[in-house]
Symmetry: C2
Subunit: 412 residues, 2 copies
């Protein structure tokens, strides 16, 4: 009974092309006005044009871009009858005043008409804030993209590229499992947080799946997965004006995850695995980073306390610059943990770099100094801090902070 279903990440992945029954295409419309020929506009729809069931998670920022407001309306009014997604990079259509919403609406309706699908489209935009969209170029681009919609690997790759801004590479993932002779797949693409916490370059992720699912089922799976992936790279509290994650289901298989608890679990796990993989790819492609560091807090009085401590450490400029310099500076880590103000007790703290102890019961194990040093010189490692006060835990993915980051961001 309850034979466990094995959910596997596909490696290498073809991204969106791994999930059957969707079409996509991408074009270059010169939104950046630099004649670079860079792909900057894409469409994602069902292959047959039939209605998609959808879930979405949006930025918590008070300042939301017009496309976010529009996509929220689409989700509220028509969550199980969506036409697809239209997305552009190069301009965020944020802080664009009276132009913002009409332009976003025009993108949505143009995608609806050009694709011939006749159902509302989600709209996502990422890039520069505060400048009006070059709406004529975009409308031409949508019409052109609609003509070349197909399910090819080439179009899937082009779509993954078209959403990028300061990312250096496309981010794709997929996971699948078998159930009653059918293969369920969840595929996804993402664009990075230009910078990872405490800041706000836009993060976008689009997932597709071939189950038959209600909006509610998809929304639960997506929200849970986001909380355990994208929101653990500490972008959430500092979300951009445009952050959006969307999951679309086309019902190509008749399998409904809600019909069976094992199936549901496997589906949710597949969504989580894709989100986790995309999140890791986002962090490791953060602007001018040289290291990915996992901060795991255990033994706090609550998970919320653990999260506060993890974020205090992961956001500390002093900690991040020490990572960059390969300095195993546990003093900065403990100080940052202390200012999270969760009532930690220094003489209970156990701190490890990977599996090497740095502090036991608050006492530093100086004999391990050279071992710590060789760990923090690696391009990925883990710091585990046990507060020894309870059962709370939280895990955060973070990065170092380099001089190149400052140089890269000192002007737009």
């Amino acid at each position: 009974m309850d034979a466990q279903i094995t959910v596997q990440l596909k490696e290498p992945t073809k991204g969106l092309a791994d999930c059957p029954g969707f079409s996509y295409s991408a074009v270059a419309t010169d939104i950046r006005d630099n004649q670079s020929g860079q792909l900057d506009l894409a469409l994602i729809t069902s292959q047959t044009g039939k209605a998609l069931s959808a879930a979405a998670v949006f930025t918590q920022n008070d300042v939301t871009a017009a496309p976010v407001d529009l996509s929220r309306m689409v989700l509220e009014s028509s969550p199980e009858k969506v036409g697809g997604i239209v997305v552009n990079s190069g301009n965020a259509n944020a802080c664009t005043g009276a132009y913002g919403m009409p332009d976003a609406k025009e993108m949505s309706s143009c995608a609806q008409v050009s694709s011939g699908i006749g159902l509302p489209f989600f709209v996502c935009s990422t890039g520069r804030i505060g400048r009006r969209l070059p709406i004529n170029k975009i409308i031409e681009g949508i019409a052109s993209a609609a003509k070349s919609l197909d399910a090819s690997s080439e179009n899937a790759k082009a779509t993954a590229q078209a959403i990028l801004t300061s990312d250096t590479r496309e981010k794709e993932a997929s996971a699948s499992f078998n159930y009653e002779g059918q293969t369920i797949t969840v595929a996804g693409i993402a664009k990075g947080a230009g910078m990872i916490e405490p800041n706000m370059a836009t993060m976008l992720a689009f997932l597709t799946t071939n189950v038959s699912a209600s909006h509610a089922c998809l929304q639960t799976a997506l929200k849970t997965a986001c909380d355990q992936s994208f929101n653990c790279l500490s972008i959430d509290g500092d979300m951009s004006t445009n952050d959006t994650v969307i999951l679309l289901a086309n019902g190509e298989t008749s399998l409904n995850p809600e019909s069976n608890s094992e199936l549901l679990k496997a589906f949710q796990l597949a969504v989580l695995k894709v989100c986790e993989t995309l999140a890791y790819k986002i962090v490791s492609d953060g602007e001018k980073i040289t290291k990915v560091v996992t901060i795991e807090i255990i033994g706090s009085q609550s998970d919320a306390d653990a999260e506060k401590v993890a974020r205090a450490i992961g956001n500390s400029l002093l900690v991040k610059t020490a990572f960059y310099g390969s300095d195993p500076n546990w003093g900065r880590i403990v100080d940052a943990a202390g200012y999270a103000q969760v009532g930690l007790l220094i003489d209970r703290l156990d701190l490890h770099y990977d599996s090497t102890p740095a502090l036991i019961a608050g006492k530093s194990i100086e004999d391990n100094l050279s071992a710590w040093k060789s760990i923090v010189e690696k391009d990925q490692f883990k710091i585990t801090l046990n507060l020894n006060q309870g059962n709370g835990t939280f895990k955060l993915l973070t990065t170092d902070l380099s001089e190149a980051y400052v140089d890269f961001n000192k002007s737009e």
Copy 2:
């Protein structure tokens, strides 16, 4: 009636030497073990050896250094009978396990004995975390410093120098006013936040005054002044393990601020002016900064909301790097304001660089682009953001973030 008393900052100031009735001295004890001859230990006492009345404000960090714990005990047990302050730089005596408190106590009792004053001393330490104090050097240093205690300008200057770590210059201030033929003075010295928010190099400030005042009177004046100065450079939420501000009153004048409401107001203003001046000197000497920026939030629904917005802006890496690059990037400022999540409305925002509007009712005034640019190129300027939702206000002093900062902090 109520003739207003004029409180004036002294410029140029001689720091502690401006307030009569105190003695100080500083010596070089090679705490850093580098034979640099750098002054690193100092004493501050009353000139006659009589008991001092005291107030103090300490770090809110869960992880406190032993000298902070000891100084808290001194304040609790003997707030109106203090011998003075003994302070060292180069080693913070933080995270030093079982050695911490005995070493701090030894510093205090050694100062008490060597000075011949026979009253408990506050102890402050700043510098490297996690290494035991070189206690023998320090004890010899205290004995030597006690022999040269006097009220000279030279000793005052040397004391201001002895507390520095990564600061590039000493920080001194004084303010005074006349009342009934007597001159009341508040004098002070400080050492900087090596880095200004969101981090935690130690901040120390020591103030002296010649009023006759109860602990309660001093504590109210000091706490209020700290909240409006040091805590508005956004160090507080992220205080170091050692941050300490102390105010000592020697009763050289018989004037008691509590005897008269005008006198009290003038005294509190003098304490505030000295704290504000020291705070500004700390920010403008922040590690590798090139600009000091005042972020003023007005029109929020509460002061607390204004503070959240100011800190979100002032801590944003993207905003700070844009300041560094002289990029008048109002989009990054608005985005950071939005993720403070106080319910701001984009179409009510007015944003000014100095007095030049960048946004009015959320609409950007692009004609002013070159004017914004020339403002953010200056080494100090102000950003005012009006949410137009209420009467809340908060003002924060912040800085830019340079490549040199990262380089400076990548290892200790």
